[in-house]
Symmetry: C2
Subunit: 214 residues, 2 copies
């Protein structure tokens, strides 16, 4: 039987816990009812110690019975192709889901992540704020008209978009009630809660090992 493995770090500091992107793949597996295990690469030396498996030194990466995939967006699309629960099987539903997955990665995160990066680097008001506000306002219009991005029901696109939007700094940058309701709706799913709790437990257990070793 082919084994599905999600690779993440063995440990991370408090800050990113609950946001490390292995959560996207855990969540997708939970939604799809796919059995998976989690394995780790060292956080210390991450810039160079697993470049052969992830050329940017990031996590997660996926191993599906020997098929290796990095980039959480690519892993998510791979899992979505395995389960109709993440992506409809008709061409229109599939195309709509993929376009919104890409929109989350290349129209929303392409602005929100660098904005947030500059913000935590000390540039609280940075030159990306106006661009981000305009993108988020356009998305607010979409989310004011429907509950889910694609195909009239929860898909992988909502998983990714809500994960991008739940970053609290991004959300607090403006008053967008439809977006807030959307994020609340998507992250209220038991699969999200389980994936997040499992990630937090994973890193908390690593703390205990570090203390024991110290």
């Amino acid at each position: 039987m082919s084994e599905l493995i999600i690779w993440t770090y063995d440990w991370v500091p408090e800050g990113p816990r609950g946001s490390v992107r292995d959560l996207r793949l855990r969540w997708a597996c939970e939604e799809a009812g796919l059995a998976y295990s989690v394995r780790t690469v060292p956080f210390d030396g991450r810039e160079t110690n697993h470049l052969a498996r992830q050329p940017f030194g990031q996590v997660p990466f996926l191993d599906d019975g020997g098929l290796k995939i990095f980039e959480s967006g690519a892993g998510l699309l791979h899992l979505a192709r395995k389960s109709g629960r993440l992506m409809p099987r008709d061409p229109a539903g599939e195309a709509e889901t993929v376009q919104w997955v890409i929109a989350a990665l290349n129209s929303i995160e392409m602005v929100t992540v660098p904005w947030w990066f500059l913000r935590i680097s000390g540039e609280k008001d940075n030159g990306l704020a106006g661009w981000m506000a305009s993108r988020l306002d356009q998305l607010e219009k979409v989310l004011g008209e429907r509950d889910w991005l694609a195909a009239g029901r929860f898909t992988a696109a909502d998983l990714l978009m809500a994960d991008a939007l739940r970053v609290s700094d991004v959300r607090s940058s403006g008053d967008r009630p439809a977006t807030d309701a959307y994020v609340a709706r998507v992250t209220d799913r038991p699969s999200f809660k389980k994936a997040r709790a499992d990630q937090l437990a994973h890193f908390a257990a690593a703390d205990d090992k570090r203390s024991a070793a110290g």
Copy 2:
């Protein structure tokens, strides 16, 4: 017979000509030998006049026999699924191509596009420079070891990555000979040259119409 239509603007100023993202879809169709036509939405009023078809007011979007897809990355994945010339048909080759398409969108462009946006906004040295340099250095290592990103031959991933990297400001931000050679190799393809020439001719023809109308 189903018709493949690439939608772009009717006109753009000199600056973005040769870089508007309809080029990615034109190029993909040329590589795949897919017949297509080009139609337009007005550039003036783009922020609001076609939100029903592209919620961020951008171009391109694709119509494939009634199947409508926005986000150039999603359009590219759709075209790649139509032709083995853009993406191998075996699971490993397909997974590798998709992961590098996503890497171009969410690990490279997520840094290079905002960096460039800040730069043309007047922040020549901006807070994203270090992050961008580190990503491009990691990619340089990959490109120093092979000619193509995925599956040992040209794929949709090279089309997208080279299009992201050919931005002259990005390229001139550091000395990366393997990346330079890669961009030269990919953009030397007749399909790229034709797509670019066609886009330039499209906007030049629009200049003539504007002059005639004025």
